[in-house]
């Protein structure tokens, strides 16, 4: 279990409880059950308190938690017959972007998402979930394929942002992102999306320009990272707490602003504490969102998406 900085007191109590239990396991005469139970209660209370009202900055940390379920976990658990489709037919296959045909509730869908990796090796392979132009172009290709065969598109968003690299710029990072967003708006099939961790700027928009967009309770979606914003507006990257506050990047604020349609509750203590429950909740939401779009024809789906974005922002936080 990886503890975040603000969870350190919790780590101490949970550590003590498991130490106690280990000692008791080694020494049959010892009865620690009452003591351990007291510690358990204490840690449970603390966990509830910590997560009851997470600050925006803490939400950023939870959203980036390394043990949080990632795109790959959701695909493996929720979809059947997942058949990865690779490459942009032009330059490379970007491993930061997963995608392919799969079934959700037996229904064929095209699932596309950003994958960050779970250890050093896979993180490097996946480039920490930061796609290059070929990743966006792969997504475009898969969306086109889905569109031609009338298959709904499901996207899972989890990226710090598009990769800021030399080659990525040379190969047209901005054009690739712009075209992916444009493709999201053009397809005549349902497009539903969930932000499962970090929705980092344009790199997220290129996947999340959807008919229905949900966010996990402790995920974030922002125009810029709080650290980046702090260093520009406060000239001090350490002001990330203030920046996170101002940016309104939490699921709760974004729901108020009308930018997202749903919030998916996470297990107590965040998705990383009960991965299976979090994955299941996302699955239920995906099915529900697709169901809501059943019966809309191609033109209706495109018009709905357009109107949604044209209307967006007109009401501010009052929405």
């Amino acid at each position: 279990m990886h503890y975040l900085e603000f969870e350190k007191p919790l780590a101490e109590i949970e550590g003590k409880a498991s130490e106690l239990r280990a000692m008791a396991a080694a020494n049959k005469e010892m009865d620690v059950s009452a003591e351990a139970a007291a510690l358990d209660k204490k840690s449970a209370d603390m966990l509830r308190d910590l997560y009851k009202d997470l600050s925006p900055w803490r939400k950023c940390l939870v959203a980036r938690h390394p043990d949080r379920p990632h795109c790959k976990d959701y695909i493996e658990a929720l979809f059947t017959e997942y058949t990865p489709l690779a490459g942009d037919r032009n330059f490379a296959d970007d491993h930061a972007v997963m995608g392919g045909l799969a079934r959700l509730d037996d229904r064929p869908v095209m699932v596309i998402g950003q994958e960050k990796g779970f250890d050093t090796k896979t993180r490097i392979e996946r480039n920490f979930g930061m796609a290059r132009p070929e990743g966006y172009r792969k997504a475009i290709r898969l969306m086109e394929l889905a569109d031609r065969f009338n298959i709904p598109v499901v996207t899972l968003v989890d990226t710090p942002g598009a990769y800021p690299g030399k080659g990525a710029e040379e190969r047209g990072q901005s054009e690739a992102i712009a075209r992916a967003t444009q493709k999201c708006l053009q397809i005549g099939v349902p497009l539903v999306s969930v932000i499962i961790g970090e929705g980092g700027s344009g790199g997220a928009v290129a996947f999340a320009t959807a008919n229905r967009l949900a966010m996990l309770e402790h995920s974030v979606y922002s125009v810029i990272s709080p650290e980046g914003c702090a260093s520009i507006l406060w000239k001090d990257a350490e002001k990330m707490r203030e920046a996170a506050e101002s940016l309104r990047l939490t699921a709760q604020d974004l729901r108020k602003l009308g930018v997202i349609d749903r919030i998916i509750d996470e297990p107590l203590g965040g998705a990383q504490r009960d991965r299976a429950a979090a994955i299941e909740a996302v699955g239920r939401t995906l099915s529900a969102m697709l169901k809501e779009l059943d019966g809309k024809d191609r033109a209706g789906l495109i018009a709905h998406r357009r109107q949604k974005f044209l209307d967006m922002g007109s009401t501010g936080l009052a929405a």
């Binding site: 598009a162 800021p164 040379e170 047209g172 999201c184 101002s246 990047l249 602003l257 930018v259 007109s314």
Partner: protein, 351 residues
């Protein structure tokens, strides 16, 4: 205190300054450092007369030079909420806004207008880098949508001049949402079969580049303009190596296949006229300041676009490549240079 210094001197100064300041004002070229005579610089559309460096050109000045006789009608842009997130950094957003409005005398970071350019009806939108770095917020999105809607209604091409550091951070997620919103505007034009031409000016970066500024049917950039998604500093920090000379500049992008053309500001207007008229299937523009064209050539030119098979037209475009307009179909051969020298006055009359 004496009467001379307190009263007469200021009076004299103000008498002088009213007339003399515009004449005497010198500005320094950002690039070569040459002191440039203000009026000369502005007549040269803020292109350094010494080194050719393209300095920022505010939308109103750009439109004055772009539209025939400097005449254009502003397109009304719906005002968004003033401070949708109640954003607070070291300054309040409304205070930053007021300061920018005062400094620029503009309402926001984009100006949209309709009018004629070389007798060609167009809609144009231009971003104002002086206004909070041209940053894209709700207003800029609204301006692009308003311009596109107007273009669709009038059946005109949209020419957009981009200049921005990126998103308006003070509008947080709502600035990010201008990426899809502005893309909806591009879709409207596409659906209506109308040309959307983007002129990227220095600098065009971030979310602006990653949306409407990269979705033009024709992509033109001004020389040496910085055009990127991630800025060079961010990239250097990420990859920990020096970037090559000219990286992310207009010419570099042209070399990497990301642009159609890099065009000097003084040649831009003529080029835009040429391109839009061809895309709109209109006859070549006739320049009123030039001798009357040969009637035979004109007749041929007027007939050509109608007679031309749609399947043939793209080929003609391809084969001409970068070499631009003047050919048998343009009666005023060689006028390009002349017009280029005084773009503000060139290409006057209707077709």
């Amino acid at each position: 205190m004496n009467w001379i210094s307190n009263f007469v001197r200021p009076k004299i100064n103000s008498l002088f300054s009213r007339r003399e300041v515009p004449e005497n004002l010198w500005s320094k070229c950002d690039d070569c450092g040459t002191m440039l005579f203000h009026r000369e610089l502005s007549e040269n559309l803020n292109v350094c007369t010494s080194c050719g460096h393209h300095m920022a050109l505010p939308p109103r000045e750009r439109f004055a030079a772009l539209f025939d006789g400097g005449i254009f009608t502003e397109i009304k842009v719906p005002r968004p909420l003033a401070d949708p997130l109640h954003f607070r950094d070291q300054k309040k957003y409304p205070d930053r806004m007021r300061a920018a409005q005062k400094a620029t005398n503009e309402a926001e970071a984009m100006l949209a207008a309709e009018g004629e350019m070389g007798g060609t009806p167009i809609v144009a939108a231009a971003q104002d880098f002086r206004f909070m770095g041209g940053s894209m917020g709700m207003y800029v999105g609204n301006a692009i949508i308003a311009a596109a809607e107007r273009a669709v209604k009038l059946g005109r091409p949209l020419i957009l001049f981009s200049a921005a550091g990126g998103a308006r951070m003070q509008e947080g997620i709502l600035s990010l949402m201008q990426m899809p919103r502005s893309t909806v505007a591009v879709e409207m034009l596409k659906e209506a079969g109308l040309p959307y031409i983007v002129v990227l000016t220095h600098p065009t970066t971030g979310g602006v580049t990653a949306s409407y500024a990269m979705l033009g049917d024709v992509q033109i950039a001004e020389p040496n303009a910085l055009i990127c998604f991630a800025g060079p500093r961010v990239i250097e920090q990420t990859i920990r190596e020096k970037l090559p000379e000219g990286f992310q500049r207009a010419e570099y992008l042209l070399d990497h296949g990301m642009l159609d053309r890099v065009t000097h500001r003084l040649e831009l207007r003529d080029e835009l006229i040429t391109i839009t008229r061809m895309l709109m299937n209109q006859p070549p523009a006739v320049r009123g300041t030039l001798p009357a064209p040969d009637p035979a050539a004109l007749a041929e030119a007027a007939v050509t676009p109608v007679a031309a098979d749609a399947a043939v037209a793209p080929d003609q475009g391809e084969s001409r490549g970068g070499k631009a307009a003047p050919d048998a179909r343009t009666p005023e051969k060689g006028k390009k240079d002349e017009a280029g020298a005084k773009p503000a006055k060139s290409a006057g009359s209707g077709k």
